[in-house]
């Protein structure tokens, strides 16, 4: 009983959804539903925490037609974080090839764009763009969940 009461007392926690964004050029025919596979290419895990939040009840990315999936075989888009390390470069390329084409790539965080503070460090292969073609960037170190949701909403158009 107390559980139901608590649920009633807490009420909805999600942020207001806001108006639907204008469709991004990268969205193509993905209208309404985007399956997302996440790849950590060498991130410090800061971006992972924010992506986790983006799919939490508060930011609730799933109400915009976004869904995290367990295999690139099921995915329309990849989210990639971190500077791409030498060990992950080949795996990232294979993951992109394993997606049904055309696959979109969303680079999340500053490291994904230009390696951030890790640029030129030992074991770094390069930015995400050096390995797979990137369609969208989400800036920030780490980017806020709202920014990630906003970028992904550009793909789903909802």
């Amino acid at each position: 009983m107390s559980l139901i009461r608590k649920i009633r007392e807490v009420g909805p926690v999600a942020e207001p959804a806001g108006p639907s964004p204008a469709a991004q050029p990268a969205s193509g025919d993905l209208k309404g539903s985007v399956q997302v596979r996440h790849v950590d290419a060498g991130s410090c895990n800061g971006c992972e925490i924010e992506i986790g939040q983006a799919f939490s009840p508060v930011y609730d990315a799933e109400r915009h037609g976004l869904r995290l999936v367990a295999s690139p075989r099921h995915a329309d888009a990849l989210t990639v974080t971190g500077p791409v390390t030498v060990n992950m470069a080949e795996a990232l390329r294979k993951t992109f090839e394993a997606m049904p084409q055309p696959g979109r790539v969303v680079a999340v965080g500053d490291c994904a764009r230009d390696c951030g503070v890790f640029a030129g460090a030992h074991g770094i292969h390069g930015a995400v763009d050096d390995v797979v073609p990137v369609d969208m960037h989400v800036p920030g170190c780490p980017p806020e969940p709202a920014a990630i949701v906003a970028a992904l909403r550009g793909l789903s158009g909802r």
Partner: protein, 672 residues
């Protein structure tokens, strides 16, 4: 001369020729000659069966051939059904032997095994042709001894074969003793040795005698049929015997156990009380479920097939038991349908099981192993064998449009139409039986997906599997013939409608359960229809049409590598093995199977917290064997050790025993 008589005489003559050929022909040609002659024995037997099923009967007695009771033969439609089944299996196995027994003259091609093989086939043909109790017992024992000799062919090299031989010998002889007592009792009380004499007196026998005879015969026949709980010899003997012998035993010999139940209970005793049939159906249900569960978790290919035999025998016994129950309850039409389903399933099981054991033999010959966990990837190296085994597995899983499906469909039709008019027992038994058949069929699909998926598809897990070579033409031809029987029984099962009616008449159920349409089956009593030919054509046609449409109009396909999580490459160690495929089932049925797991952690020398090796062992023992037979064996060993004191080695003492025995017998004789 009667045609049945002519064919059976020919079979007998060919058997002698084959045995003689095996002893005198040089090793180079021995396998081919004996194989050909055995095939001819089988064809003669099958021809006799066909003629018997067309309505011909044959009866002959030779009172002076053997001492005391002589020999009496009687062939009716029920015998014909079995003659056809055994003859066809023998023909397939004969052709298989031509390829299997190579020119080396060793192993299955040695003189002994090849000489006994046609004798075994002939003994099996003789059992259903026996027309008296003594003839049946003679032929039964001949069959048991011949099969035992064939099971222990590998005894010099393999401990397992020796153990299997001992188990088989002990159980088959114990069953024979039960049979001997039961049938002799029946013959003594009814005052006749021949079947027609017993038939005439059976109705007047006291109830106690009928019940006792039935129980003793059940023990004998069910142990030969390999139904649970009298099954422990079966997975051992079928696994250790050479594959063509396994095929003969599993496809033909165990059916003679069913024949015995049908002959004694339905024909000689003319049906019985209700608890007989509840007992038969219960044994069938337990056997079907336990057999398929053990098959589902088995990793030894031949052991798996052996347990699948237990399962199919269970389904047949379930049909027989329900038929008896329905006939008891005054529903002869549905009873005839259930019995027809059981009889048809005997034929279907013989067809697909000889095919599957042939395939197991091919695999064993090509790779030297029967362990599914060590196989894989055979479809590239042995494409014909793989295709044939897949066909057999399809039938064994009873998926439409296979022959296994037809008989299971008939059985379910009979069970679903049992109704509630036949009393409480029937009203409870029929739905339970439906559930048993459904569960069995479901697990059978998983089992045979495992056989084909982990054994033949995927990548080879060992070097032996990677270097497999396709079998010689003789073996492939035999398997192809068995597959052709499967297809014929699947597509035009209507051909058996008329012979089945004759068989049912011999079992005192003069009904017509199946009406043959041109290409379909109609069940007049329950208003159901099945058109296997159209089913086959439409399924094959739909699949082909879908493939064509997708190829012609679908988008162009992109070739991508198998997803390996970005790592790679994929290796054979990442595949599903037979054990891992069956693991979920094993978990679900944990309480029934009671698997034994054993985890052995070895830490490094310096610290107990650092692990150097973990040894994990999983064994799924036969629980019934452990619970039921181990204590029995221990008791026998104790008694045997204690009785050893009587045999001290002193000749005087033995003479005293003999003298005492003679005196006791004389006194007992005078006393009466």
């Amino acid at each position: 001369m009667n045609r049945v008589e002519a064919a059976l005489t020919a079979a007998g003559g060919l058997t002698l020729a084959a045995t003689l050929a095996a002893t005198i022909i040089p090793a180079q040609w021995r396998g081919a000659t004996v194989g050909t002659l055995t095939t001819l024995v089988g064809l003669a037997g099958a021809a006799a069966g066909c003629w018997a099923l067309s309505g011909e009967t044959w009866h002959a007695s030779f009172p002076d051939l053997l001492p005391l009771a002589g020999v009496e033969w009687a062939v009716d439609a029920l015998s014909g059904w079995l003659l056809l089944l055994i003859g066809a299996v023998t023909a397939v196995v004969g052709i298989y032997t031509i390829g299997y027994a190579d020119r080396s003259g060793r192993g299955p091609a040695a003189r002994g095994p090849l000489a006994v093989l046609p004798l075994f086939a002939a003994a099996m043909l003789a059992v259903p042709a026996a027309g008296s109790v003594s003839t049946l017992l003679w032929t039964w024992e001949l069959m048991a001894i011949a099969s035992l000799l064939l099971v222990v062919v590998e005894h010099k090299h393999s401990d397992a074969a020796r153990t299997a031989g001992i188990w088989y010998a002990a159980m088959t002889q114990a069953g024979f003793v039960a049979l001997l007592v039961g049938l002799s009792w029946l013959a003594a009380v009814s005052g006749a040795d021949s079947f027609h004499g017993i038939r005439a007196h059976a109705a007047a026998l006291p109830a106690g005698v009928r019940d006792g005879v039935f129980l003793l015969c059940m023990v004998g026949f069910v142990s030969k049929a390999g139904a649970v709980p009298l099954h422990p010899w079966l997975p051992r003997a079928h696994a250790e015997a050479p594959s063509h012998v396994s095929a003969l035993m599993s496809a033909a010999m165990v059916k003679l156990g069913i024949y015995g139940v049908l002959r004694v209970a339905f024909d000689l005793l003319g049906g019985g009380t209700r608890w007989w049939w509840v007992l038969v159906a219960a044994i069938g249900a337990v056997s079907a479920l336990y057999g398929i569960l053990q098959a589902a978790v088995a990793t030894d290919l031949k052991r798996l097939l052996a347990f699948s035999t237990s399962e199919n025998i269970g389904l047949i016994l379930l049909g027989v038991g329900m038929a008896g129950l329905l006939a008891q309850a005054g529903q002869p039409a549905i009873a005839a349908l259930a019995l027809a389903a059981a009889l048809l399933h005997m034929l279907n099981h013989a067809a697909f099981k000889s095919l599957l054991f042939g395939g197991a033999g091919s695999v064993l010959r090509a790779t030297g192993t029967r362990d599914l966990d060590a196989l894989g990837g055979l479809s590239r190296r042995m494409p014909s064998t793989t295709l044939l085994v897949a066909g057999g597995a399809f039938a064994a899983a009873a998926l439409p449009p296979s022959n296994g499906f037809v008989s299971e469909w008939l059985l379910l039709q009979a069970l679903l139409h049992a109704g509630t008019g036949g009393g409480t027992v029937l009203a409870v038994a029929a739905p339970v039986a439906v559930a048993v058949v459904a569960l069995t069929a479901g697990i059978a699909v998983a089992t045979f997906v495992k056989v084909v998926g982990t054994g033949f598809l995927a990548r080879p897990r060992t070097a032996a599997a990677a270097d497999a070579r396709e079998s010689p033409a003789g073996m492939l031809l035999a398997m192809g013939l068995a597959a052709a029987f499967c297809v014929a029984l699947a597509v035009v099962p209507a051909v058996v409608a008329r012979p089945l009616r004759l068989v049912l008449e011999t079992m005192r159920l003069p009904q017509e359960p199946l009406a043959a349409e041109t290409v379909g089956l109609r069940l007049p009593q329950v208003g159901a229809q099945l058109w296997p030919l159209w089913l086959t054509i439409s399924l094959v046609g739909l699949t082909a049409a879908t493939a064509t449409v997708v190829r012609a109009f679908g988008r162009t396909r992109r070739r991508a590598r198998a997803w390996d999580c970005g790592d790679g490459p994929l290796t054979a160690r990442m595949e599903y093995t037979a054990t891992s495929f069956a693991e979920p089932l094993q978990r679900v049925f944990d309480d029934v199977l009671a698997p034994e797991t054993d985890v052995d952690v070895t830490p490094v020398k310096e610290s107990a917290y650092l692990v150097s090796a973990i040894n994990y062992r999983l064994r799924i023992p036969d629980r019934i064997e452990n619970r039921l037979y181990r204590p029995l064996i221990r008791a026998f060993v104790t008694i045997g050790t204690a009785a050893r004191r009587l045999a001290s080695g002193s000749m005087h003492r033995y003479l005293a025993y003999m003298l005492t025995a003679v005196i006791v017998v004389l006194v007992a004789g005078v006393w009466r």
